[in-house]
């Protein structure tokens, strides 16, 4: 097809191009930029939500590990006393 491009095909490729109404062009641009901005905001909000999740998860894990360690220490102390 590209190899066998004849005159008609070259003619079509070289036809005049038009642009949409300038107001419409600007409206489309603005809407697209708004979509991109909304995506960015959503991503930022998700990231902060993840940060919140870490806020409560880290102390919980630390508390759990401490409790396990303490229980093991108490258990070994009791074993020594017996």
């Amino acid at each position: 097809m590209k190899e066998s491009r004849d005159e008609i095909q070259i003619g079509i490729a070289g036809l005049q191009t038009w642009d949409a109404d300038p107001l419409r062009v600007e409206r489309i641009r603005a809407r697209c930029l708004a979509v991109l901005e909304a995506q960015r905001r959503k991503e930022r909000a998700e990231r902060s939500r993840l940060a919140d999740w870490r806020y409560w998860l880290e102390p919980t894990v630390a508390f759990g590990l401490s409790a396990v360690y303490l229980a093991a220490a108490v258990a070994s102390t009791l074993a020594l006393l017996r």
Binding site: M1, K2, D6, I8, Q9, G11, I12, A13, G14, L15, Q16, T17, W18, D19, A20, D21, R24, V25, R27, I28, R29, R31, C32, L33, V35, L36, E37, Q39, R40, E43
Partner: protein, 196 residues
């Protein structure tokens, strides 16, 4: 658009870069609009489909594959939106011919100089393109897009490369017939004028 530049733009688009969008928008907007205008033969429809194409593009920009060919992506979406619009409107080729008066006014923003400068062949080609069926028109227009490889064009139309080749050949034949008819009619008009 060079492939290397295109890949860099795609990488930036995947991060939601607004400047990258602006570059792609400037590079493809007019050609995409012209494609839709020639396909639909209505400026209002072409503008609506153009808007929808770009909105889909930004909505899915982050999900683009790193090796995306932007022209293939945009023209495929535009063509599919046009096909959906046709289905929704139940427009058939016969009915499309009724819309000929709303064929985009080529001279809408054309100066008299530009109008004169347009070649006769170009005028005949535009008229013939307007007369062939939308099936023929879409294959002729897609294959004429520089950045689209034959396999991209085939994929856009949901065809195998072999089926595309056959359809293109038939479309070219019908376009040539229309161009000859247009030439004959122009010559007849000139003859009549001379005779008068």
């Amino acid at each position: 658009m060079e492939r290397e530049i295109e890949l860099r733009l795609v990488a930036r688009l995947r991060t939601g870069d607004a400047a990258a969008f602006e570059t792609v928008y400037e590079a493809f907007r007019a050609r995409l609009y012209s494609f839709l205008v020639r396909l639909s033969r209505r400026r209002d429809v072409a503008e609506d489909l153009l808007e929808e194409t770009w909105l889909r593009f930004v909505a899915r920009a982050r999900d683009l594959r790193a090796d995306t060919c932007l022209a293939a992506w945009l023209f495929t979406v535009a063509r599919n939106l046009y096909a959906t619009w046709c289905r929704n409107q139940s427009l058939h080729d016969e009915r499309l011919s009724d819309l000929t008066p709303s064929w985009p006014a080529v001279a809408r923003r054309e100066t008299p100089f530009e109008a004169t400068a347009r070649t006769e062949t170009e005028r005949r080609l535009e008229t013939a393109l307007a007369r062939v069926t939308s099936r023929d028109r879409e294959v002729l227009l897609l294959v004429a897009i520089d950045e689209l490889t034959p396999s991209d064009a085939a994929a856009s139309l949901g065809l195998t490369p072999e089926a595309l080749r056959k359809r293109l050949q038939r479309a070219r034949e019908r376009l040539a017939v229309e161009m000859d008819a247009e030439l004959a009619s122009a010559q007849m008009k000139t003859g009549e004028r001379k005779w008068l």
